[in-house]
Symmetry: C2
Subunit: 226 residues, 2 copies
Amino acid sequence: MLKAVFFDIDDTLYDTSGFARLARKAALNVMIDAGLPLSREEAYRLLREIIAEKGSNYDKHFNVLTERVLGEEKPLLIALGMITYHNVKFALLRPFPNTISTLIHLKGKGYRLGAISNGITIKQWEKLIRLGIHHFFDEVVTSEEVNSEKPDIEIFREALRRMGCRPERSVMVGNKFTEDILGAINAGMSAILVNSELSDDERDRIKREGLDVTVVQEIGEIREIL
Amino acid sequence: MLKAVFFDIDDTLYDTSGFARLARKAALNVMIDAGLPLSREEAYRLLREIIAEKGSNYDKHFNVLTERVLGEEKPLLIALGMITYHNVKFALLRPFPNTISTLIHLKGKGYRLGAISNGITIKQWEKLIRLGIHHFFDEVVTSEEVNSEKPDIEIFREALRRMGCRPERSVMVGNKFTEDILGAINAGMSAILVNSELSDDERDRIKREGLDVTVVQEIGEIREIL
């Protein structure tokens, strides 16, 4: 009988937010050295505002930054920022500690593995490849392909359909309570929350509704559960 | 009195075509190893057809390739191809021999330096930065910014205007006879053709019309002319 574990990618399998923060700060430092007239703190604050406003998948944050500060786009500064951002991000990229040993453990136990991610298909595959873990995954399902985003039930159903697996035989592992955990549970799966603290409201809700969710501090603890 | 030398970028300052060919072949090898059912020769022939059809600035050549061969886009193969292409291209990237010493020579002689390129602004700046030569250029003018492509006179006029330089005090260096050489001459500049063989027709035309163009085999020879 098939049994499957699905993983969210960003901030579940690797430290997206931490790497992005370091890469953005490095990019801003290079832009400041090349003439962007802001302090490091001002630059980072403004960039975060722009990212919040435009969304993290927008690909022209640095264009907007130079335009807001200097009244026009500055190609040299933009290109310096983009090169530095990508170089630093790719140089740092690695899975969270214990991720690979956990994936090996699950394969050894006979689980099929999938990824369910809100994001752009090729970019999500690129992350798995650059992290060196794409061979572990039997299916990778993205919101772009399915035209449905977590926590919508549709993206979970499509992942289960592709894997040929029933929801009650499947577990979703993710760091976001609403998107990953509630989404999976609504689709009939059980769930494991990692890298995240529960709020009091969320804790109450789990107890009140009897939700099938386990909370672990880090991904390696999954080896003791599954 | 200001005097200026303008350079084309691709195949003038570095071996775009050679690096792209190596990077594409490396990408296809990785895609074939991961299951693309073509021989290396078939794959390269098909990719070149797609590039000819879609243009070299189109960013989904590998998507089209997998779709044509397998009936649908294959994100794993596409992402493997894109990562390999970029890694190989950036690893190989360097200016043609004698480029940097020529730029230093021209700066020492008091020339202002510019680039005039048909291409996407940020990508052309990215190339100059990754080549390590962006500090040499006082102005970089792209067809995307100016909304005019070489050999149109407009892009040359805009470059001269930004540089504050008269055409008769300016030289254009490039590898394409029509785009770089005729374009510059029509704008009133003189021209130097590098990395290119003249056809008999072109040679006749230069003589018949008395065009102010010098042909050199490699960029380093410019040190003997200017």
